[in-house]
Structure formats: structure tokens, C-alpha cells
Symmetry: C2
Subunit: 361 residues, 2 copies
């Protein structure tokens, strides 16, 4: 018996780490989606995208400053934050750079590399709207600049409408405190919005009339279009799905029954439908959605398949409650070209080969 448990020594799923620059602590770690069960991502395997390391913060010394266009600038200790009414919700986080490079990024050899900047947790915290009401939002406030306490002071500008809607100032994740890599002791959760706006190690919120036009919303996290113009402040993650089993790098153990399973999610609400094709997109059949299907959360789908031993291309496509349908790769490219590194959400085919091995399709 142990005070705090660990997994079996026989278990090996890990995050894949990738350093992105020579600057220390800059990179990503990707969730092994192919190994997950259900919809909850273990906090130990939650994806990360770090812009300047992981600070080691003493919660007793951490403070959140709320200032700018407010009636009463306020500073909250963690004890203050915890005393406000709390709420919980299960929702996904996805980096808008998941499959960075668009179609080419999604062609990486396995789902951890192609889609692994995606996770889902039960988050607990105080509604940001409660803190804003405490401070008093002035009419001129149209934006909120959220800044983290990492070395780079990573910041993003968030429209006041979202700040007053469903944003959480979160300190809980999957039943316990946030993990250090997930923003301990405090982070923003913006349901359905690109991961980068969910600022970690949150220590400052400033209400302003204009956005900050910070590095991470101008040089990065903008969508370059074929005509050379760029979309900026593209916050909402559109509906997407992917088969995680069987997926690239796995091998089917034999002919006969296999359950095809994976995730679907939408930043705009609930998943309404997931269809699966096992014949390269010629025919599509509805998959079963695992209850509970929650708004802006991962939805687990399952599909029974009899593999006859031949070569087969399998893929999923989802529809969300707004009736938006996940595009094919060609449809995505027709709209956004090949320049856009962000927000790729095309249908992802896997090819099952005759020996049972699975590769990018």
C-alpha cells in the first residue's frame, strides 16, 4: 500500500518530446493518443507546448493581478481564488499547431506525432466572469491580455465577450491540482479555443481597449492564406476526428473482428455524428458515440469492423451540433492552401496493409 500510487512497471506509454528551438524549454510533448482509453487523458500524459520552460511556482507566493480598464484593480492569492465559487467541466485542449504544416503535418507516421497535441481533462476553478465582476469591467474594455509567469511572459489577447462567457481560472485537473507542465498553480481554460490562449502559470490579466498584438498572436498563431494575407485571432477549434486504433505504427493481430476507435471533438459544441469508412471513402457508416457526449470535450467513437485480410484505407469524419462537417484534405487545401500551418482539421486516412501493419494513408 502506498500513499500516492504509480503505474505498473510493465506500462510504457509516454509523451514524445520535441525541442523546437535552441532556446531552453521550448518545445512540445505529444500525448500517446493510440494508447488512451475513454475520454479522460491522464494528467501525466497531457500534451504540452512550452515557449520558455516550466516554472516551479510556490502556490503560497503566487498572485494573480487583475488590472487595466476595471473599477477596482485587484490582486488575488491562491487562497483568495479558492474561496470563490468553483465549477468543473470536462473539455478538450488542442494546440492549433496540431498537425503543424497542415496536410503535410498530418502525414506523420503515427497518430501521436500527427495529432498528439490534443488532450481532455476535467478542469475545476472559478469562472473568470466572477473575478471580473468583483473588479468591475469598464465599458471601454474590449480585450483582456492574459500573461503567464514563464520566463517569456507568454501572453495572448482575448476578446472581452469570451472572458465574460465560459472561461475558467482553473486550479484543478482530473481531481487534483494542475500539474506543473499544465500551468500549476493557475491557468486559463477557454473551452473550445486554441490551446495557446489557455494561458498557463497565469499571473496577470489586463483589460484593454485594443489587443496587445503580441508575438504569439502576430508572428505565430495566424493563418497564412494562399493570397498572402493572414487570418488573425482565429480562436475556435473547428470539428475534427481521428482514428486512434488501429493507427500508424500498429499491427493488426489477425483477420476477423477489430474495433475501430478514436476521438471526435469540436470547439463549437457537441459532436453530433461520426462516420467511418473502411473502403477509402467510398461508403460511410455511422459509428457509435460513447456516452456522455459533452460539449467541447473529446467524444470517443467506436465502430465494429471485420477485416478480411486485404489492404484497406480507414478514416473517420465528424459532424458537430452546428452541422459543420469535417473537411477532406482537398477541401481544406482549396480554402486555405498549403501555407497555413495552423488549424488543420482534415480527414485522416490510415492504410491497413495485407500483413496487418498500419501506415499513413
Amino acid at each position: 500500500m502506498r500513499p500516492y500510487g504509480e503505474r505498473s512497471s510493465h506500462e510504457s506509454p509516454v509523451r514524445v518530446l520535441r525541442e523546437l528551438t535552441k532556446s531552453p524549454g521550448t518545445g512540445s510533448s505529444r500525448t500517446p493518443l493510440q494508447d488512451l482509453y475513454g475520454i479522460i487523458t491522464p494528467s501525466s500524459l497531457h500534451f504540452e507546448r512550452h515557449h520558455s520552460g516550466v516554472p516551479n511556482i510556490d502556490p503560497d507566493k503566487h498572485e494573480l493581478l487583475l488590472h487595466g480598464l476595471v473599477d477596482r484593480p485587484l490582486t488575488f492569492t491562491m487562497a483568495d481564488i479558492r474561496r470563490f465559487p468553483s465549477v468543473s467541466r470536462i473539455c478538450f485542449l488542442e494546440c492549433s499547431g496540431n498537425s503543424i504544416g497542415g496536410p503535410s503535418g498530418s502525414e506523420l507516421p503515427d497518430v501521436q506525432q500527427s495529432h498528439g497535441l490534443l488532450s481532455c481533462s476535467e478542469w475545476t476553478g472559478v469562472p473568470l466572469s466572477v473575478l471580473l465582476r468583483e473588479a468591475g469591467v469598464q465599458p471601454a474594455a474590449r480585450w483582456m491580455i492574459a500573461e503567464g509567469a514563464d520566463s517569456s511572459r507568454m501572453s495572448r489577447s482575448i476578446p472581452i465577450e469570451k472572458a465574460l462567457d465560459d472561461v475558467l481560472v482553473a486550479y484543478g485537473q482530473n481531481g487534483e491540482a494542475l500539474r506543473p507542465e499544465q500551468g500549476y498553480p493557475l491557468r486559463l481554460i477557454l473551452p473550445g479555443w486554441e490551446g495557446n490562449t489557455n494561458v498557463k502559470w497565469l499571473h496577470r490579466l489586463q483589460l484593454t481597449a485594443e489587443p496587445a498584438m503580441s508575438t504569439k498572436e502576430t508572428a505565430y498563431y495566424t493563418d497564412l492564406l494562399p493570397d498572402g494575407k493572414a487570418l488573425i485571432f482565429t480562436f475556435v477549434m473547428e470539428a475534427r476526428s481521428v482514428i486512434t486504433r488501429p493507427s500508424g505504427g500498429q499491427k493488426l493481430s489477425g483477420h476477423g473482428f477489430h474495433q475501430i476507435t478514436g476521438f471526435a471533438w469540436s470547439g463549437k459544441g457537441k459532436i453530433r455524428r461520426v462516420e467511418v469508412s473502411t473502403d477509402g471513402g467510398t461508403t460511410w457508416t455511422d459509428a457509435q458515440l460513447q456516452e456522455p457526449v459533452l460539449s467541447q470535450a473529446l467524444t470517443r467513437f467506436r465502430f465494429p469492423w471485420h477485416w478480411n485480410g486485404g489492404s484497406a484505407v480507414i478514416q473517420s469524419r465528424c459532424t458537430d451540433e452546428t452541422y459543420y462537417v469535417q473537411p477532406t484534405r482537398d477541401e481544406f487545401v482549396a480554402l486555405r492552401g498549403y501555407n497555413s500551418g495552423y488549424h488543420y482539421n482534415g480527414i485522416k486516412p490510415w492504410k491497413v496493409q495485407e500483413d496487418g501493419s498500419v501506415v499513413n494513408g
Copy 2:
């Protein structure tokens, strides 16, 4: 960046361990309910009740034998089990010995000791009914004896109706493999039924005409009544609730607003209603139930309270979808007396003292 994350060094919630006999590996570890957020219990903090240690099982060598009154006795490897269709569900587990000793057990000084044999996870596995269909259940089979691979070969008898209903043969917990203390690599999950029947380290299922009358269903896990007779095979956990914050051992930081929060759950389905009293049971007001409210899962309730600084007795009572109402301590005792160590589910009062400290009420 780390392949597999750990919690912050500033975080300290742990399970409380209690050895119950001199026999090694016999005891319990209790979940720190007072520190949890939301409804998911971190796997590292899930409660345990061990009857003979935690075996270290190599999943590649583990097998499940299904035999007895079946048409085709079968042995499944873990690879076999994983190839069957899987499902997931979020549900609670509670030891029927939670608050062992009935009213007196619930009077322990904090909620971890009084109610900590309670947790909630997202479980994934194959429906037992699928495996039973594969083997072919013979008409004479009325019971199923489930046996674990711990040193004591802990076993329980389960009616065939439940086995064919909603039981899972589970290998996933909160997104990853079961933890060793939770039955790695395979356990039963019987939604809503007393924890002991959810046999861990599952290695044998035998269909029989009669129950085994094993130690754990005769000498233990029976409910001794005032007249000296005992109820046996009392499987379903009836509706119960408890306030976890503020609770025994905690101290309110000052007068004014405090959120009262806790859990409600029922083995018979969904929680319909939770009421909170802050005046010793004179008046009751509905608490807010955190969505999603799931059948046979923990439901988080929240209640806004203005503490005026005086002494106050706070408590919760729940009603489930069958309209069963959680009894008071007196109502429980009137029915079952003081002998019954199991299935105590009375209303639990906490006393907030004038200095803000909270004690058993």
C-alpha cells in the same frame, strides 16, 4: 519536459493507510476526499481495500479462465481481451465497509477517515456479457464466482442477472491501464455494487448453480441485524452524500462567503436532488448539481453559504432517481441497529465552531 509527468513538489494530498490485521498486505488506503476537485478521482489517490497484498502481474502472462456451466470453457490472454469490443463508463466504487461500524464509523474526525473508501474513475473494458456469450451460458448457471489473483484468491459470488447486465471486465482507468492497486491488468467493474464484488487481478470466472459461500460473503460483507439475523448478498450501494468542504479538520479562513461542496452517489442510478442544511437540520435548501450528472457516478454538489461567524451544523442529504432519500443516523439505526458494520449511509453533520474550525457534528 518529461515523458511522464508528476505532480508539483508543493502538493501533498495522500491516501491514509491502515493495516487491518497482522497478515501482510491486509488493510485499506483512504482517498483524501477533502482535497479532490470535480468528480474524477486521480488514480494515484483511488481508495484500496486489500485482503492479501498487491500482486505484480506481467500482463503478457496473465490469463482469464471462464469455465463451469458454459458450453465452451475459454481462456483469454490480455491480447484476446483487448480485441473484443470495448466500452467506457464513469462510475463510483465504494467499499460497503466505508464508515465501518455504522454510525460510530462515520464519527471519525475527518471525511477521509469517515468516508474515504470512495472513489470515481472512467473505466474501460469489454462487457462481461460479450465474454459470456462467447462461452455460452448454460440454463443451470445462476451464479458466477469471480476470483482474483492475489495471494488469498479473494472471491465473490455474483448473480448471473448482474453478470449479463452491465458488468465490465476492465483494463482501463482514467485513460491509461489500471493501476496495480486497482487490479492491474484486469478487474471487474459492477456499477453501483459494493466495492468488494469488483474483483481485482481477475483471473477466473466460474459459472455455477449456487453461490460459493466464500469467506468474504459469509464471515464478512454481511449485515448483522438487531435480532441477530444477518442480511447476506446485499450488493447495491444505496444513495448517500457527504460534505467534503468544509469538513472535519479544516478551518474557515474568515466570515462571509464560503462554497459548501461535496459528493452524492447512488448505486441505483442518477442523483436527482441534494439538499443542504446549515442550521442543524431545521431548514434545507437545494444545492446545485454539477453537470454531467451520471448514473452510478459521483455527483459533485455546490452550495453558496454566508458564514456569520457563529457556531453552525452543516449537512447534506440526497435523493436518487428512484426517489429514495438518504436516511438520518436515527432512521438508519431504527432499521438496522448498531451491529451492522456495512452499508452505513446516514446523513453526516459537521460542526463549524466559532473560530472557524470544523469537527464531527
